[in-house]
Each structure stands twice: as structure tokens, then as C-alpha cells.
């Protein structure tokens, strides 16, 4: 009887130990899994916060180019999108993301690279509005097609003595010449508007995944974006208009090349237009103070007022900014050009200039 009791007791003890041990083990496994997910989220959050700071400093200083070593995040895919005036970026598949309603960030839709390249250029309309920040990566390649003067400017502007700061780009004479290599994304830039629309995709590119290749086509001030579908180009969204003054380093034109698509391009441009409208208010106040400095007969005062003067051009400019925010930007480009001319005349006459 006693031996039977002991047998039951020993078996029960072992079952008890197994269950209790299993529960304790499960508890610790649960903690480790939870902790791992928390650590990953924290790492993503830390990286994105650092990126935000890097974007802020890269965005405020003019004409700077720097790179970010992605380290452990080289295998993670970063996404960039802009909707309703808010840019959002984060790590694909993770809940952590950063939203930015202020700074125009022109970037490909996705980046998965060991090195991210950041470049800023001032956007002037005609005075400096803000810096445009261009985001690219070591494995995002830009293949340039066309004979436009801007091709050479782009090649020179994106070159750098430091190979880590050099934008991955090549000049080609036809689509057949493009070598996609092992790049994560290939962006074809057609400056003449003759190589992409209605043209087939050569075999070397047709084998690539559709999302690995995209194209941007310039036609005067019009910009269209194309995506690959099998072996043909398909236009993506509406044609957008460049809101830019002529001359060198047209930030809006560079922005179109680095932008993922037309809608994100316009979304970021609208951020700049909003800032421009507020800057106009400050310049209108400065204009009023400038008129008080000179006596009515002073030659500078006479330059300030009248037809095509800074005063009238600035008034037209501020109205045109409002129009541009709702759709038509042609008038804004004209007004900005007139304002630039009037301001240059003031500077030549050694009068106070508006900007």
C-alpha cells in the first residue's frame, strides 16, 4: 500500500515539475520574444529620429551633400511617400514612422541600400524660399538620356571627388545602352521627351521586376512619370508642371528627377508654395518700410513704384502664389521673373533691394 502511494507521489511530482517548468520556460520565452520586438521597434525609432535630425540639418544648410551609412539597416527597406502635404517615411513593415509637414523631401519611393545620399539645393522664387532636400542611395541609378544643356549641368552637379558622395548616374545615348547592374532601382531620365513615351523597353531592362525601374520625361516645363509594365512604359498619374525660374541649379527640376512620382513631387512643391505665401507677407511689409526710407522725389523711390517695379511685381507675385496653390502656376513664374528683374535694377542703382 505504502509503495503504491510512493509511486503515485513520485509520478505526480514529476508531472508537477514538468508543468511548472514548462510554464516558467514559456514565461521567459514570452519575455524574450516581447523584448526582442520592443528592441527592434526602439532601434527603428532611434534610427528614424536620427534620420529626422540629419534631414533637418541637411535641409537648412545650402548646397550641401552628405551621406548616411545605413549600417545594420542596409537590409531594411525604407519607404517615402507624400500625401496631402505631409511626407511620411519609415521602415517597411515596422510601425514606427516619421511625418513631416514642413520640409520638402524628394526621394525615391523605396530605398534599400548600404549608403543614403542627401543633397540640398535652395529653391528660389525669385528669393530663397527654402532648401529642397534630395534623397538618393548608392544603389539607385540615374540613366540620363537626351541632348539638353541640363544633362551636362546635372552630371557636373552630381559629381564629387569623394566617391561616397557621388550620385550613381550615367549618360547614355539610347535605352539599349543602359546597364541596370545590381542596383536596387533604376531611374531613366529622358530630357528630350523622345525616348520613353510610346517606345518599347529593350530586352536588357524588360527582364527586371516592374518596381525596379521607372522613368521621368521632361517636355519643356511639363514632367511626366512612367512605370514599367512588362515590356512597355505606362504613364503614372497626371503630367506636372515645373514651378521654376530659368537659369542654373533649378532646384525644382532636380527635385523632379529625384522624386518617386508626380503626386509626391507636387505634394512637396506645395509645401514650398505655402512657405512662399508667408514669405510674401514679410516682403510686402519690408516693401512698405523701404518706401518710407526715401523721399518721394528720390530716384530710388521712383524705382520702387510704377509699372514693372518691385512694388507692383511683388503684389502680382503674392496673388500668383495663391493661384499656383490651387493649380495654375504659369503666372507665378512670370511674376517671379519680373520681380527678379526689378530687384536687380534696384541693386544696380545702389538702392535698397527687396532681397
Amino acid at each position: 500500500m505504502n509503495s503504491k502511494k510512493a509511486q503515485v507521489s513520485v509520478t505526480f511530482n514529476w508531472i508537477y515539475i514538468l508543468i511548472a517548468g514548462g510554464i516558467i520556460l514559456l514565461f521567459f520565452v514570452g519575455i524574450i520574444v516581447k523584448q526582442k520586438s520592443i528592441s527592434e521597434d526602439k532601434l527603428s525609432s532611434d534610427v528614424l529620429n536620427s534620420l529626422e535630425s540629419i534631414f533637418t540639418s541637411a535641409g537648412v544648410s545650402e548646397k550641401t551633400r552628405n551621406y548616411v551609412d545605413m549600417g545594420g539597416l542596409a537590409e531594411q527597406e525604407l519607404y517615402f511617400e507624400c500625401e496631402e502635404g505631409v511626407t511620411e517615411y519609415g521602415i517597411e513593415g515596422k510601425g514606427v514612422r516619421i511625418q513631416n509637414a514642413m520640409d520638402p523631401i524628394f526621394a525615391p519611393k523605396n530605398i534599400k541600400a548600404p549608403r543614403m545620399i542627401l543633397w540640398s539645393l535652395p529653391y528660389k522664387m525669385p528669393f530663397r524660399v527654402m532648401n529642397f532636400l534630395f534623397v538618393s542611395s548608392s544603389n539607385t541609378k540615374y540613366s540620363l538620356l537626351g541632348t539638353d544643356q541640363f544633362v551636362i549641368e546635372f552630371l557636373n552637379a552630381t559629381d564629387d571627388r569623394d566617391p561616397q558622395l557621388r550620385i550613381n548616374r550615367e549618360l547614355v545615348s539610347s535605352l539599349d545602352e543602359i546597364d541596370p547592374g545590381k542596383n536596387y532601382h533604376l531611374r531613366v531620365v529622358d530630357f528630350d521627351g523622345l525616348n520613353i513615351p510610346g517606345k518599347p523597353i529593350p530586352e536588357t531592362l524588360a527582364n527586371l521586376n516592374d518596381e525596379k525601374i521607372s522613368a521621368v520625361v521632361f517636355n519643356g516645363l511639363d514632367v511626366s512619370y512612367y512605370a514599367k509594365e512588362g515590356n512597355k512604359w505606362v504613364k503614372e498619374g497626371e503630367t506636372v508642371t515645373l514651378v521654376s525660374l530659368s537659369g542654373e541649379r533649378q532646384a525644382a527640376k532636380y527635385a523632379a528627377i529625384f522624386s518617386g512620382d508626380g503626386s509626391s513631387y507636387m505634394c512637396n512643391i506645395k509645401k514650398a508654395l505655402k512657405r512662399l505665401s508667408y514669405l510674401d507677407e514679410i516682403y510686402l511689409a519690408k516693401m512698405a518700410e523701404m518706401k518710407e526710407v526715401y523721399a518721394p522725389q528720390h530716384p530710388c523711390y521712383l524705382q520702387l513704384i510704377g509699372d514693372k517695379s518691385v512694388d507692383t511685381s511683388l503684389d502680382i507675385h503674392s496673388v500668383a502664389v495663391g493661384l499656383c496653390q490651387t493649380g495654375s502656376c504659369k503666372k507665378l513664374v512670370e511674376a517671379a521673373n519680373d520681380l527678379r528683374l526689378a530687384n536687380n535694377q534696384l541693386r544696380l542703382a545702389s538702392c535698397i533691394s527687396l532681397y
Partner: protein, 174 residues
């Protein structure tokens, strides 16, 4: 005799049982005390880590805001098509910027500056202060001021640019 032996055995067994129970209770007590100590330690550690992270974020916010302010196109001295003058504020813009910042505070500038106070103290030639932006945080516990020396360009005095200097004070509310 047998009954007495039985009673004695029973007493010894009960004593043994009591000792075991006390042992078990003592072990459980020590176990819970250890758990409590671990929890307190973890809570204290988390609290310190959280405070450290908050301080770091606060410092980062202050640096970001200072960088943004120094390069603000609303205040910077421009030179036509050339690059803007570094660390220089145009007084003819500075005097009016506050009005624009105030009127578009909720729809734009709050996103840029958040809870902060930005003021410019002119030191030379005059002694004057301009509050460029101010949005106080309710129940704010601390502020972190950052100072930066800037040139102040004023063309309103006879049409020729005259330069003074001042200090930009950027206070971030936490």
C-alpha cells in the same frame, strides 16, 4: 503503552510538518522579496533610462530649433541672386516677422517651432529686444535657452546698410 508511542510519533510528525511548513513559507517569502527587489530595481532603471531619453530628445529639439532659426529665410540677410549672408538677420524683415508668425501660428509655424520662444536682443548700436516667436507650453517644467550671436543688418537708416550685432535667444519649453 502503544497508545503513548502513537501519540509521541504523532507529535514528532506534527513538529516535522510544522518545520516544513515554516520552511516553505520562509522560502516563499524570500522568493517574493527577491521578486519585489527585482521589480523595484527594474522600475528605477526604467525611470532613469526614460528621463535620460527625454533629456536627449529635449537637447536634440533645442539643437534642431537653433539650426532652423539661424537659417530662416524669413529673417536671413539676402544678397540678390548670391548666397545669403551667414549668421545675419535683416532688420527690415525681423521687425515684421513676428506678425506673420503670429497670424499663421496654428496652421504653419507651430509645426516649425513647436513650444518655444525666439527673441533677438540687439546689443549694438541700440539696446532693444524683439520677440520673434512665442508659444508657451501649459504646465511646462523647464526651459532650455540657447544663445547665438548674429549680425543685424539695417538698411532703413538712409538707404545704406549698417551692421550691428545682437544675440538670438532660443528657449525650448519641455
Amino acid at each position: 503503552m502503544i497508545y503513548e508511542k502513537f501519540q509521541k510519533d504523532k507529535k514528532i510528525k506534527m513538529k516535522k510538518g510544522q518545520i516544513r511548513m515554516t520552511e516553505t513559507i520562509a522560502v516563499l517569502f524570500i522568493f517574493f522579496v527577491l521578486i519585489l527587489f527585482s521589480l523595484i530595481f527594474y522600475y528605477r532603471y526604467s525611470e532613469t533610462a526614460f528621463k535620460g531619453e527625454q533629456d536627449e530628445m529635449f537637447a536634440k529639439k533645442a539643437i534642431d530649433l537653433t539650426t532652423k532659426t539661424i537659417f530662416l529665410p524669413e529673417l536671413l540677410c539676402s544678397k540678390g541672386e548670391s548666397e545669403a549672408e551667414d549668421f545675419c538677420f535683416d532688420m527690415m524683415k525681423l521687425r515684421h516677422a513676428n506678425k506673420t508668425f503670429k497670424s499663421h501660428l496654428s496652421d504653419y509655424y507651430f509645426n516649425l517651432f513647436s513650444y518655444a520662444k525666439i527673441s533677438v536682443q540687439e546689443i549694438y548700436p541700440k539696446d532693444e529686444e524683439w520677440i520673434v516667436y512665442e508659444k508657451k507650453k501649459p504646465n511646462s517644467t523647464r526651459t532650455d535657452p540657447t544663445f547665438f550671436v548674429v549680425a543685424l543688418k539695417d538698411e532703413s537708416l538712409g538707404g545704406q546698410p549698417s551692421y550691428g550685432f545682437g544675440v538670438v535667444n532660443i528657449e525650448v519649453y519641455s
